[in-house]
């Protein structure tokens, strides 16, 4: 299992090296960090060190900028990244209970990742789909007119989907991924 996570780490650094190559000396720190997160899903610590070296700026500058902006994450997101909108319109239409419902059903708090790395939960400020409030964004797909009672339905669908997949040859891969996830948590 540890080998797996070490392997994952190596792959990430390789990806970051490729991203940095594309920038060809352009010193745009925020754009580079955004690009890394787009490709990897979060900002690994080693990655930020590489960026600092590449831009020839201090590590604290990179970390300072990365932690300043809400968009950057420092832990890998789950396979399904759930963003619950907490804009004003969502708030007045009881988006708060939707978030609580996700927390209750997934048994994680906002900002956390479930133990099997299937789900991660995040609150976001506003996704600009106020007319469909309350809104939840799951892996970049917007779901409007949410309701705390709809959460169970989503989870059931995901469960059925993964069980459906489980019949095929992908089940082994799923198991492996779960394994490495546990390894990380240890």
């Amino acid at each position: 299992m540890n080998n797996d996570s070490a392997q994952e780490c190596m792959e990430e650094r390789e990806k970051i090296r490729k991203i940095l190559e594309k920038w060809e000396g352009k010193k745009d720190l925020i754009a580079i960090l955004l690009s890394i997160q787009d490709h990897i899903g979060y900002l690994p610590e080693d990655g930020m060190l590489d960026v600092a070296k590449y831009l020839n700026i201090s590590e604290s500058t990179v970390y300072g900028v990365a932690t300043f902006y809400n968009h950057f994450r420092f832990i890998p997101p789950g396979k399904r990244h759930i963003q619950v909108c907490m804009g004003t319109a969502c708030h007045v239409k009881r988006g708060g209970t939707v978030l609580e419902s996700w927390e209750r059903c997934l048994q994680i708090r906002e900002g956390e990742v479930s133990e099997d790395r299937e789900f991660s939960l995040e609150r976001v400020n506003c996704v600009g789909c106020c007319v469909l409030a309350p809104v939840v964004v799951i892996n970049d797909e917007v779901h409007g007119r949410m309701d705390s009672t709809k959460v169970d339905g989503f989870l059931l669908r995901y469960q059925l989907e993964s069980e459906g997949k489980g019949n095929g040859s992908e089940s082994d891969i799923n198991e492996d991924e779960k394994g490495s996830g546990d390894g990380d948590n240890d």
């Binding site: 907490m86 004003t88 319109a89 708030h91 400020n125 506003c126 600009g128 007319v131 469909l132």
Partner: protein, 660 residues
């Protein structure tokens, strides 16, 4: 040179008209579906696919095009069907299956399925137009003119509808006359502060410097606002044109569009619009043969509300933490990388292109003496017709909210009893929050205020960039203030002590009040602290953060007092002050709708077979209120909790069976 510019533009225009004609005036029908973010999330992409499938299977001569957002987001997904022999008809609330049967009926049976139509969009003798309804007739569209009617990803559509004519006029007039034209129009910055646009331009123009920058502020951080997003997605060229004109007027050759990362579609649309504009020669080197150069880059924000402030925004483009700095020096003197910089909001820049094309006097004839032109609002929250509205300045808030917006919608509660229809429960208007976290909550008594920068400021709110969230009787004023403070406290960059620590204290006090732990002295403390934060903060985030508290305290003081003195939340929203209760007289023995809805198994069956709630287990999610058939209406909220009747014992003989 002028002749050359005009000649080149005429060429572009005739090309564009030809392209548009090919789309619109062919033999076949044209179906334009709104596929901006709001349409997409309501299912517009599935509707597009459904239209395409049915057209192909029936072998009809028709085209499906994807346009931007009409602003009538409540009826998304929407489509305009233009069939030869019929006026173009706008349909709303579409679904894939409706799209299919609409096409079948319209094309096979010549039946336009008018029950799904909102109305015709052109005058005709057959079908009433949408313009006869107040939602359309009271609007005055300058900024949103093209939204939903052109294909945003096709520059030819923009040019054919009068686009880039403003640029050509500016190039013919020269920079100083261009600024003079903007002055004549009376345009004021629509980002929120309302500073006169021409003044900003002239100051920047008069600062010497070989390198200047134009920045388009599209960092729409205000939660509950989506005007800028819609314009970026539906009419991106109007912004590009405005930026080129601004660049020409002040003498800048490069510009940045600073867009939020949360708007991926806007980022991609503006990016492709920039490359199209370059291809056509209206952007880039030697624009239309005039010898003028202008280039635009897109810069993505990474989610920080404070970056809407101009100095913070520039720091962010420079790759630093987005922290504001003291002004002066103003950006016009020393802005991005120390160079003279002009920053305008998306709406201001888009209006510049319209004003130059259509004439300053036409623009200034709309609106009031102090505020010329139109204001755009994004209406959301508890309002019937959500979406974008554009109205002339001077219209009252009441007209916008009730005549155009349709007022507060009822709550529709479905029943699980066979044969019973859903019941609509009327809700009354409570307040309108304008200006986002920097604005304020205005009650019904102030709704006759005419919309104008100055009059809105007098009420304690601010005009802001145009977010308008409507609250109804179920929304608590204290909780709303707490929500905004939570937001600003989170988003405070931490530079100024008063903003960093002061907002935290405000938030703590408000949280205490919403939990029933406040004291009356807190109210004076809130006001005092608010005044101090206003004075002690550098940028407008801190200066305006207390506005939601000050306005709610001013207009809804009795709610604060009820929370403190009686531990009662009059709107029944604050969780710590309410309890859910099933009225035994209303509860029906045979029904167990609430039991199944409870996520924590807090609802149990009493000895008399009626249901009751175990307060220890209840998480106050309100599922049971919604599950209880409205004909019984047995589940209520009680505040203060001390008024909750004693609970009846559980029927132990049923334990373990009640859920089956």
């Amino acid at each position: 040179m002028e002749i050359m510019i005009n000649e080149r533009f005429e060429e572009l225009k005739s090309e564009a008209l030809k392209d548009l004609q090919e789309t619109n005036d062919g033999e076949g029908a044209v179906i334009s579906v709104g596929t901006a973010t709001c349409g997409r999330s309501a299912g517009a992409i599935e509707v597009v696919k459904s239209f395409k499938d049915v057209i192909e299977s029936m072998g009809i001569d028709a085209k499906v095009v994807q346009v931007g957002c009409h602003g009538h987001c409540y009826a998304e997904p929407m489509a305009v069907v233009s069939k030869p022999g019929w006026p173009p008809i706008l349909y709303g609330y579409l679904t894939p299956s409706r799209a299919q049967s609409l096409i079948r009926r319209f094309f096979n049976e010549e039946d336009p399925a008018l029950e799904w139509a909102l109305g015709a969009v052109d005058e005709n003798d057959m079908i009433p137009t949408v313009f006869e309804t107040p939602r359309w007739s009271l609007e005055r569209r300058w900024l949103l003119k093209n939204c939903g009617s052109i294909v945003p990803e096709n520059i030819n559509h923009y040019i054919a509808s009068g686009g880039y004519e403003g640029l050509v006029r500016a190039l013919n007039m020269g920079p100083s006359e261009t600024i003079e034209n903007i002055k004549e129009s009376g345009l004021r910055g629509l980002g929120g502060a309302g500073f006169e646009t021409w003044k900003k331009w002239e100051i920047c123009r008069n600062i010497p410097g070989d390198r200047k920058y134009i920045i388009c502020n599209a960092d729409e951080g205000d939660p509950g606002a989506f005007m800028d997003r819609t314009i970026l997605e539906s009419d991106p060229h109007s912004i590009i044109e405005g930026m080129i004109i601004a660049g020409y007027a002040v003498g800048a050759e490069s510009g940045y569009v600073y867009v939020r990362k949360e708007y991926p579609q806007a980022v991609s649309v503006i990016g492709s619009a920039i490359s199209q504009a370059k291809e056509k020669g209206v952007l880039g080197e030697n624009i239309l043969g005039s010898g003028i150069n202008f280039n635009i880059d897109v810069n993505q924000g990474a989610g920080a509300f404070v970056c809407g402030e101009e100095t913070a925004l520039m720091a962010s483009i420079e790759g630093k933490r987005g922290m504001p700095r003291p002004r002066p020096p103003y950006p016009a003197n020393s802005g991005l990388w120390g160079r003279p910089t002009l920053i305008n909001n998306v709406k201001t820049l888009a209006l510049v292109s319209r004003i130059l094309a259509q004439g300053a006097s036409e623009f200034s004839s709309v609106g009031t003496e102090a505020c010329k032109g139109t204001a755009v609002f994004a209406m959301a929250g508890k309002i019937q017709n959500t979406g974008l509205v554009e109205v002339p300045f001077g219209m009252t808030l009441r007209e916008v909210i009730f005549d155009i917006g349709g007022g507060t919608p009822p709550v529709i509660r479905a029943s699980n009893i066979a044969g019973e229809r859903p019941i609509a429960i009327k809700k009354s208007f409570k307040a309108v929050q304008i200006g986002g976290p920097s604005g304020g909550c205005l009650p019904d008594s102030l709704l006759d205020t005419p919309i104008c920068f100055n009059t809105i400021v007098e009420t304690g709110a601010i005009m802001g960039s145009g977010g308008m969230v409507i609250l109804d009787e179920d929304n608590c004023a204290v909780e709303t203030a707490r929500y905004f403070l939570e937001f600003t406290q989170n988003e405070s960059c931490g530079k100024c002590t008063f903003c960093r620590i002061g907002t935290k204290h405000l938030l703590d006090i408000l949280s205490d009040i919403t939990k029933g732990a406040g004291v009356m002295e807190d109210l004076d403390l809130l006001v005092e602290l608010s005044e101090n934060i206003k004075q002690g903060s550098l940028c407008n985030l801190g200066k305006t953060a207390p506005n939601p508290i000050l306005t709610t305290l001013k207009y809804f003081r009795e709610e604060y007092e009820a929370h403190i003195k009686e531990q009662r939340c009059p709107s029944l929203e604050c969780k710590d002050l309410i309890a859910y209760y099933i009225i035994p007289e209303k509860c029906q023995r045979a029904c167990d709708a609430c039991v199944g809805s409870c996520p924590t198994e807090a609802i149990y069956t009493r000895r008399d077979r009626l249901k009751a709630i175990d307060q220890e287990k209840c998480v106050k999610c309100e599922n049971c209120v919604e599950a209880c058939p409205p004909q019984y209406d047995a589940v209520i909220k009680i505040s203060p909790i001390s008024e909750l009747p004693a609970s009846e014992p559980r029927d132990n003989s049923l334990s373990g069976q009640e859920n089956t």
